[in-house]
Homo-oligomer: 262 residues x 2
């Protein structure tokens, strides 16, 4: 996050898909780094069975003072977090310990027509935010209805993260119109390994993306046995052309993937 | 370690200088990564008061199977580990939680005169190792004394790691003839900060190296407020010219620093 220039202070919810070190062990350092700031707002940590014990272990890991709460939330089956601007759905997937896939959905929003608000003489600031949220506003004795300054309702983007899993219908179905980040640990020659260790091959990931109607596929969790993952990319591309090998610090402009049929 | 090409399997002892995250939180990932191998040998973890609780927390951090023991050893005051080829001395230093500095000393060894062993007809292998260790060996009815194949006794190198600390006499005295890695969190303009947070300035580190008679000084723990640490390097160089800014993945040939007066 430091290298990517993303502030720790913006984090207030963390989803842990499963309790394997490579999906979880960034949290102790994150928590202790934040503890050096004057943050007071709690952080909610959503995770599978065992998350509360794991967060207890995080608290006991060395000498530091936490002035904010870490609040574990144990998910039990499908789980939905509704926020004003987005919805996160966590669905159980098929790995060898309890694991969740995540569906991040930006909610439909009406565009804010700034010129109209300005034409009405409304000063930028809190009144703009209220109108954007769809609230009626009183201004200089006049009632402004949000319809006066809001445009058409637009679809947001949808991002599906399979986490570590065998291919699954629930992920396929969630992928319609979405950007899919899918487990692609192995190539076809190691399909037995994928079955045994409860991971997916690149071709399997590509079939989920194709059959689900995803807009784009990002392959992740490439086994270190593949030097650069090019073979996996080629195997997937034959099945689903809109494929990319995910890389650390990769930036993707999600506005390219907004809207369209679901 | 992966990037540096160092095998995890070679680790059987870890010294934790203190329980701050930036000096300790590599251990959970290391332990869980090793747990994927078939290692069975224990790992000893030496640390200050609280190390046993911290290692308990490491054990509870997520879902994995450990097939080897993690054995915490709580140090209480000065501590010495004697091994065949080296000695590690841990000395309490002056930080705001219990913290140790480390003195790593390669023991004096007699050089093995391979040509002589060969001239005596001894085959390379276990007999060479025994002779190197100073043991008498029987070979084809003949007794070979180690003096026959060992040359002069040579000093090894000494490496002193201050850990996070204010400047201290105990570190200065250990530094004679040694390579010193010293806390240099701040420049002189933030000397007050250094005192308050129990760290050192680059100039203070340089004075420890100069007054202690170190062979070389490596500045570490540079505050992120310094973009590249060049100011700290310049401040130290005026006092002790054999100074280097430590960098991740830096390699130093310690054979340059063997022997000489102590």
């Amino acid at each position: 996050m430091m290298k990517a220039g993303i502030s720790f202070m913006r984090i207030n919810k963390i989803f842990v898909t499963h309790l394997h070190g490579d999906h979880f062990l960034g949290i102790p350092g994150l928590v202790q780094t934040i503890s050096f700031s004057d943050r007071r707002e709690p952080i909610y940590i959503y995770g599978p069975e065992g998350i509360a014990e794991a967060i207890d272990a995080v608290r006991g890991l060395g000498e530091y003072q936490l002035r904010f709460e870490l609040i574990p939330v144990e998910m039990d089956g499908e789980f939905v977090l509704e926020e004003e601007k987005y919805r996160i759905r966590a669905v159980p997937v098929d790995h060898y310990i309890p694991t969740y896939g995540l569906v991040f959905e930006e909610k439909k929003r009406r565009t804010f027509l700034r010129e109209r608000a300005e034409a009405l003489g409304i000063p930028p600031g809190p009144l703009y935010s209220k109108l954007q949220r769809g609230e009626v506003v009183e201004f200089q004795g006049r009632t402004v209805h949000p319809d006066e300054v809001l445009g058409e309702r637009k679809e947001g983007f949808r991002l599906v993260y399979s986490s570590d899993t065998r291919p699954l219908d629930v992920i396929k179905e969630a992928s319609r119109g979405a950007v899919l980040i899918h487990d692609a640990t192995f190539g076809e020659e190691y399909r037995d390994h994928a079955v045994e260790t409860k991971h997916s091959t690149a071709a399997e990931a590509a079939r989920v993306a194709r059959d689900g109607g995803a807009k784009a596929l990002y392959l992740y969790h490439i086994s270190p046995r593949y030097k650069n993952g090019k073979e996996l990319y080629e195997e997937a591309k034959k099945i689903f052309p809109e494929v990319t090998l995910a890389k650390d610090f990769m930036k993707v402009d999600m506005s390219r993937y907004k809207g369209g049929k679901r």
